[in-house]
């Protein structure tokens, strides 16, 4: 199926009333999650995954994707009104967005954020539609050594960009690989690391780990910091949310820059929208005629990072859908969701599950329009969510977490594991260990071990098979270079600044 026919088929699927409804639900929930500081899209997708078990896969993935990109739209609201990013990817938006709001241009800043997000989200999906088929066609030539090397490359990037310390990121990744080994061995049925518990023979459930690490971990971190928020007033009425012509003119190149930067960085595993928004802000400042004004409330300082963090979504779905390799926490959970529903993302997905693949892509075009329509007139309403007391919100999320973990297997044992992983997630955050590498290590652990062992079976135990094939050799060499790159002082300084978004 070529791109045009694929998209037409996708629109036929996405425009079905039930799928339109799920798209709207996902976008709406995503916006709320984006507005709420502290609860990210990864945690929300993990929490809602059990609800999708009874849903039709196409509708379910459309809803989860809506949460994923909807949260990025919503994340800018708190950045602009509170100087507090709703999502890590909206950190850069605080710099000029909050300054605009302080100067009485909060409405224009919110409008620019919504319009940039719409433009970039749409460009990102167009690029996804165009880039995904050739990438999938190329990946058809991959065998076990190439897949193993590709996973090494992706995980190396995740470790590099996962946190301040690459050692800690690698350790988190290795712990993820270990957790993936718990249970019966794929090839020999040998029980591994089960601590005498027969309930662990089937392995650890992904949802229990994801909800524990993200949802419980985030709640515990939020409980730590108790403090009142001072929100700037939100202008009412659509007219007050539209930027003026001068402001829009100033943003036009920033939107294009952010869209392209965001998509390219989104394709790279581990980079994520935080890095994308930082890089696009830096590029915009570097090419601007008035770089000294950045930080004082210039509209292009809002447009570039917001465009980048939304175009990143389309980029991030390229490796997920065409190679089955997620680049971040949210896409890792979406990969697990697809596998749970019996769909294997990878080069054959377009042919084996065209409804899901093209339906999802088409739904993102629709979702971007839905989000623009939702975000412009309803921003004052969404901002009111910030007034919901945390003493209601936090216990409710804990209750949802219990239900999410219990509904996986109806075993109370899983709720115990959930508490354990929640504590682990909190301690990792306190001690500076990033959680994304652990989740990706867990998600890719089984596939990585399988690919390595199959490669060695093909070569009768000769490890040189990994470096004698050109694609795997290049990918492994890149992985080694990536892991050694922090040794370059200037690169490491840039990396640390990018991760902190400053």
């Amino acid at each position: 199926m070529d791109v045009v026919n694929g998209l037409m088929h996708g629109f036929a699927v996405a425009l079905q009333p039930s799928n339109l409804l799920w798209c709207f639900v996902g976008c709406f929930l995503g916006t709320i999650i984006g507005v709420l500081p502290g609860l990210g899209p990864a945690a929300t997708i993990a929490l809602l995954l059990p609800v999708t078990f009874h849903m039709e896969p196409t509708g379910a993935i459309i809803m989860l994707a809506g949460i994923y990109y909807g949260a990025k739209y919503g994340g800018s609201t708190t950045s602009i009104l509170l100087n507090m990013p709703g999502e890590s990817s909206s950190v850069v938006t605080c710099i000029d967005g909050y300054q605009m709001a302080r100067r009485g241009r909060a409405g224009a800043a919110l409008g620019i954020a919504a319009i940039s997000s719409f433009v970039a989200g749409t460009i990102g999906v167009i690029l996804l539609s165009v880039v995904a088929p050739p990438v999938a066609a190329f990946a058809l030539s991959f065998s076990s050594p190439e897949y193993f090397a590709l996973m090494c490359f992706g995980l190396a990037l995740v470790a590099l960009l996962g946190g301040d310390s690459i050692i800690k990121a690698l350790l988190a990744l290795l712990v993820g690989l270990w957790l993936a080994s718990v249970g019966v061995d794929l090839f020999t049925a040998q029980a591994r690391f089960i601590f005498g518990q027969s309930k662990l023979l089937g392995g650890l459930d992904f949802l229990v780990i994801a909800i524990g690490i993200f949802a419980i971990g985030e709640i515990l971190s939020n409980v730590e910091k108790r403090g009142a928020v001072n929100m700037l007033p939100v202008p009412r009425g659509i007219r007050n949310l539209l930027p003026n012509w001068e402001e829009l003119r100033a943003c036009r190149f920033a939107m294009v820059n952010g869209s392209l930067t965001g998509f390219i960085i989104g394709v790279l595993p581990g980079a994520g929208s935080t890095i994308a928004s930082f890089v696009s802000y830096g590029v915009e400042k570097a090419v601007s005629r008035r770089p000294e004004k950045f930080g004082t409330g210039v509209p292009e300082g809002v447009a570039a990072p917001e465009a980048a963090n939304n175009a990143d979504t389309g980029g991030a779905l390229v490796p997920l859908l065409t190679l089955g390799i997620p680049g971040g926490s949210s896409t890792a959970i979406m990969l697990s969701a697809l596998i749970l529903w019996g769909i294997r993302p990878g080069p054959l997905m377009m042919d084996e599950a065209p409804d899901v693949f093209w339906g999802l892509v088409a739904s993102m075009y629709i979702g971007n329009a839905v989000l623009l329509l939702l975000n412009l007139p309803l921003v004052p309403l969404f901002a009111q969510i910030l007034r919901l007391p945390s003493y209601i919100l936090h216990p409710a999320i804990l209750g949802l977490s219990i239900i999410g973990a219990y509904s996986v297997s109806s075993h109370l044992f899983d709720v115990g594991l959930l508490a354990g992983f929640g504590l682990l997630g909190y301690l990792m955050g306190k001690l500076g260990y990033p959680s994304a590498p652990l989740i990706l290590g867990f998600v890719l652990g089984d596939a990585m071990e399988r690919a390595l062992r199959q490669s060695l079976m093909m070569s009768q135990g000769d490890l040189s098979i990994l470096v004698s094939r050109p694609i795997s050799a290049v990918l492994l060499a890149c992985a080694v270079l990536i892991l050694l790159s922090p040794l370059l002082g200037r690169f490491n300084q840039w990396r640390t600044r990018a991760l902190h978004g400053s």
Partner: protein
């Protein structure tokens, strides 16, 4: 100086991870690393076990060599008792699911979190616990038909 380093978060976490790596290697060495059909169940764990030991020791050694104590590392533990208290309540609610069922355990969790962690009045806590529990009961078991642990008293 020595006690500062021993109490340092990186040194402590690195030591725990090194111990985990040793455990993984010891366990994996009991399984075949190579079989007639190719790599065995012990092959992959031995490699990442060795990597965990190497990296965690690297973390510990670099901290000791640099000699920076915790106060220079800047981890703020002042809010940890609140977070750990909330976690203990959550864990207790998980343990009470078997004898009390979801509704009662969740109501207790909400009540104690609102009173102890968020320092609200008993009345606020009571109303929040009742409201949240009723909402969950109506949405999950009633509307969505989700099976939740039931209490011996006949209610969810």
């Amino acid at each position: 100086m020595l006690s500062r380093i021993v109490k340092d978060a990186d040194v402590l976490s690195g030591s725990v991870l090194a111990a985990l790596g040793v455990y993984i290697i010891m366990e994996a060495s009991q399984w075949e690393a190579y079989t007639a059909g190719g790599p065995g169940p012990g092959f992959f764990p031995i490699w990442y076990g060795l990597a965990i030991v190497g990296l965690s020791l690297g973390l510990v050694v670099s901290k000791i060599v640099n000699g920076k104590g915790e106060e220079e590392g800047g981890i703020d533990w002042s809010g940890a008792p609140r977070a750990l208290g909330a976690w203990a309540m959550f864990a207790a609610a998980g343990a009470l699911l078997q004898p009390l069922g979801f509704v009662l355990s969740f109501a207790l969790l909400t009540f104690f979190m609102v009173v102890v962690v968020f320092r609200q009045s008993v009345l606020t806590a009571l109303l929040t616990a009742l409201g949240c529990t009723a909402g969950f009961y109506l949405v999950f078991p009633v509307a969505l038909g989700v099976d939740l642990p039931a209490s011996p008293f006949g209610v969810f």
